[in-house]
């Protein structure tokens, strides 16, 4: 089919309406096919499949000259890949490739075949042995690994600094890392990348290579073969030697890879770039921090100065104010003195507005009083008035002053009275509350209620008393009083206390009462649940375990329970109408209730016993 014909046979027809779209799960063969075509186009898919076919048809070269030159005894030195005709494929060859190559070689170079073709074959050192040996090595994964490890074509060198200078970093190292990647135990070895690789990528790359786990081993280079040893001891010794040699080589190998990675790391422009970036960032951060610190410091200083200035100002203002006030006061005092003097002078000149000597004396005293009482302004007014009205105003003022003084004295007296009253009252309140018998009992109760160790015990006790006692007035107990009383009670002679007496009397009554009770009924307080049930067990064996406990309409109180137990005891199983009688003994309970309760009890006891038995 030629190109033209293909064209002729193919037509593309446009579809004149739009396609509808729908969401589809990314699963299933049909989807994968669809997606593959969509992503890569049909052609690439076809191409991929054909290229796959091609790889299967690798032609293995056949170099008879080389094969003939081989010495079967020196098999260890031969290149097995070359023997099988896979010189170029080497470690990339799949197991399948090796198998096929070997088959081809066998078909071609088997001694029988060559003999048939008329070639002379020496059976002892024929090169065919080399082919089988090569397959022996390459055909088994373990041996192939050890041969691959010491592949003679592998370049073990590490680039030198001058190489790097000459070819540039990326170019030099990507080659080295690529060829060394084959030793990795892990797959998907990250490769060097390029100048613009992301930081994450580069870091991952170095992390991987610094942790490089190589499968390379050097057992192929063993000096002596283990099997050669004549006895166990010797074999062991050989093994030991080999092991040491291998370990040494392995160490060298690790060191080689390490030095390669080290060299790369040291020369990597990307790492330098990142480092520089880090440094810049750090520096910037540091500078920023320093700036911040400085700014903060400056700000603090400024604030401190301002505060100081403000303080100083405030202090000065205060001082000035005090000074002014003092001056004012002085001034006033001076004025007052002056006014007083002028008043006295005025009075003196007017002969104290007196009409006789007696008056003069009293008026003189009054003037002094006025001087004492009156303030500056009043004094000034008074002087003016005196000048204007003379005696009448003097008298009036004198009288006012007298009244004022009197009122003051009166007020003072009143105050004193009130105070006295109050002190009296408080004294009355302070007097301790009387301890009545009732109160004492309450105290004992409280003390028992709040045992020693209670937080703030005596406050609590006092509160209790205050709350529960009856009081005639507002007096209440406080902690100290209560404590004192309690101590008192403890230490005092108890036999003398009225309480004890009362208790004794009561005890006697109680005793008498009890005695009567005992004689009238056959009461026995010590009946326990167990006792009853034991008796009960004996009489009624028909109760079976899976009766459901009855629904309790009314729960059984303790007294009812006791009554029931007593009744069961009193009326043994042989009594006729037993349950009627039992029910009669217990108020509020019917015959049915009693029977139900009884069954329940039996079941409970039984189950417990059984459980206890099992646990043993």
């Amino acid at each position: 089919m030629t190109e033209g014909e293909t064209f002729n046979n193919c037509r593309t027809v446009a579809i004149p309406w739009p396609f509808s779209k729908r969401k589809v799960e990314c699963a299933g063969a049909a989807f994968l096919r669809y997606y593959n075509i969509k992503c890569h186009g049909e052609d690439t898919f076809l191409e991929a499949s054909t290229s796959k076919d091609k790889t299967e048809e690798v032609v293995f070269e056949d170099n008879v000259e080389y094969l003939r030159s081989l010495d079967p005894k020196e098999w260890k030195k031969q290149d097995h890949y070359a023997v099988l005709g896979m010189k170029d494929l080497r470690f990339k060859a799949s197991d399948d490739d090796i198998k096929r190559a070997y088959r081809q070689k066998v078909l071609k170079h088997h001694p029988d075949k060559r003999k048939a073709q008329g070639e002379e074959v020496r059976s002892d050192d024929d090169y065919f042995t080399c082919i089988t040996k090569a397959y022996e090595i390459l055909g088994t994964p373990k041996n192939r690994r050890s041969f691959d490890s010491v592949d003679p074509t592998f370049d073990d060198t590490v680039p030198t600094a001058s190489d790097v200078k000459r070819d540039g970093f990326i170019k030099t190292f990507s080659m080295y890392f690529e060829i060394n990647a084959r030793w990795s135990e892990k797959k998907n070895v990250p490769l060097l990348g390029d100048e613009n690789s992301s930081r994450e990528f580069v870091e991952r790359f170095y992390a991987f290579w610094y942790e490089f786990d190589s499968w390379r081993e050097f057992s192929y280079m063993d000096e002596e073969e283990k099997e050669k040893g004549s006895d166990r001891e010797e074999r062991r010794w050989i093994e030991k030697q080999n092991k040491v040699a291998r370990a040494k080589l392995k160490k060298e190998e690790m060191a080689r890879i390490r030095s390669l990675v080290d060299l790369a790391y040291a020369n990597d422009p990307r790492i330098q770039k990142f480092k520089q970036e880090d440094k810049d960032k750090k520096l910037a951060a540091k500078r920023a921090r320093q700036d911040a610190v400085q700014a903060k410091k400056a700000e603090e200083e400024r604030l401190f100065k301002e505060a100081q200035l403000a303080k100083q100002k405030a202090e000065e203002a205060e001082r000035a104010k005090i000074e002014a006030a003092r001056a004012e006061r002085e001034m006033q005092k001076k004025n007052l003195r002056k006014e007083k003097k002028s008043l006295r002078d005025l009075c003196k000149t007017n002969n104290y507005y007196a009409q006789n000597d007696d008056e003069t004396v009293s008026h003189m005293a009054a003037v002094e009083k006025i001087c004492e009482l009156m303030k500056l302004m009043e004094l000034q007014d008074f002087i003016k008035e005196l000048e204007a009205n003379g005696r009448s105003s003097f008298l009036k003022t004198m009288k006012d002053t007298e009244d004022k003084l009197e009122a003051e004295r009166h007020a003072l007296f009143e105050n004193k009275k009130v105070e006295e009253h109050r002190t009296k009252k408080s004294a009355a309140l302070k007097a301790p509350v009387e301890w009545s018998v009732e109160m004492t009992q309450l105290l004992i109760k409280a003390v028992n209620l709040f045992p020693a160790g209670t937080n703030q015990r005596w406050e609590v006790v006092a509160n209790f008393l205050n709350q529960h006692g009856t009081f005639t007035d507002e007096r209440r107990f406080n902690a100290k009083e209560v404590l004192n009383k309690a101590k008192d009670l403890q230490s005092s002679d108890f036999s003398k206390s009225s309480l004890k007496k009362a208790a004794n009397e009561e005890a006697f009554d109680q005793f008498e009462k009890d005695k009567k009770k005992v004689t009238s009924t056959i009461d026995d307080n010590s009946i326990s649940k167990n006792d009853t049930s034991k008796v009960v067990n004996g009489i009624s064996p028909k109760v079976n375990g899976d009766v459901k406990p009855p629904k309790e309409e009314k729960s059984w109180t303790k007294t009812e329970q006791e009554l029931l137990e007593q009744a069961i005891k009193t009326f043994p199983a042989s009594t006729g109408d037993r349950w009627d009688k039992i029910a009669d003994c217990i108020p509020n309970r019917s015959k049915k209730d009693c029977m139900k309760r009884y069954k329940e009890l039996v079941e409970l006891v039984k189950a417990k016993k059984q459980a206890a038995n099992l646990a043993k």
Partner: protein
Amino acid sequence: MAVAYGIHLGNSSGSLGALANGTSSVLANDAGDRVTPAIVALHGSEWEVGLPAKSGQAASKSIIKNNKRLMNCDWNDEDLNFVEKSSSCRIQNEEKLVYEFETSETKIYSSPDSIATKIYAKLFTIASHSVKDEGDLKLVLAAPLHWSHSSRERLVKCAELAGFEVLQVISEPAAACLAYNIEESITDINVLVYRLGGSTCDASIIKISNGLISIEKNIYRSDLGGQWLTKDLADFIAQEFKQRWKLDPQESRRAMAKLLHHADNCKHVLSTLNSAHVFIESLVDGVDWSQNVSRARFENIISSKISSYIEPVQKLIEAYGASISKIVLCGGSMKIPKLQSAIANLLPNAEILSGINPDEVIAVGCAKQAGMILDFSNLSLTDVNTEVEFLGQDIYLKYLDQTVKLFKEGTSLYTQFTCDIEAPKNLKNICFSLHTLPEEDEFAKEEFNIEHLNKPFKLKAVLRDSNFMLQVE
């Protein structure tokens, strides 16, 4: 051929499917179970995953269950409470969620991711022990439908940390369909996938056309699951015990944990056998308990819940309308025969698929998907679903006096059509006309020279983006 793996990790258990040489299987763990409990426990400084963690529940103090709920990036408070309640360790929720374990000396913190990684690592060891395969273990994971892209990324990261190479993440219902090869059906069908797991439930209706799976409707419920059935059974046994011995196991946390564990086993047995024997040594106060539970009894216990368990399906069917021809059951709780029959009764005309163990269905589907995707080495799929173009109308092809339906409506892109065409030997040119309906006028016409072709010849048609290609050979 390389082995491909599929993992379905749920809230309560995980299973590992493998596909080798075209046959899928489920790998058993070291205890011989095909399902590994997704429970992680910390014992001193040692982590236990799977069965040891599950059986040590009653004794251990730090156990994590239902970790998957917190693997979802958009978890809510309800999920957090649920996990905290079922696990026996504290969960801190500051800037990041962490589990807090108190050991004798220090406190240990662990994130949900690292817990998931531990479970994956456990499955990884199971996988790596099962086959002597030197290459990477290639894997497809299943994620719930409602998970976001970032949650799936987290899942992938965890699986990769555990050692797997994750090829793709697919949705759980899609995986369930793949397990039964439903997508290979020629006609378009609707499938109901009902997954009832330990604590969650998903009901989805899936439409399959041309091998493509699309999810039409979905209901997710986080309040339905097998563990509530287990709880009912445990309560029943506790009641029996209490009646017999007057001792209440519900008072002690340890006794209840023991009881739940045994009830769980009993439930599993009852899925296959008609009766199960429960023997619990020293349940309370050193008293043993031994009892036979029949399947009828168990069904009686759960009968009140059945209706609520099939309610999502009912709703879904009512809302969807169209007929459903197949039902796929997955999730461990769907092993219960009563539930299976309840679902079957809802859709009497549908075929129930339960050939594969319900709790392994999704893992098997994942493994199959992994096997398929291995053939397409250069694909990278990050989404669970994507949009695909479909043909909007039918296309009919007329030639000579024949009519052929070339593509029908809803055909996806890149579909191929081939047919043999009989033509008289001496015909030089053949004319194809294309119609949307057989009786309508043509919308396109193509003429081919077929002089040199052998008769009958082949006609090939490939649907492409906005056009299609006709080819004669």
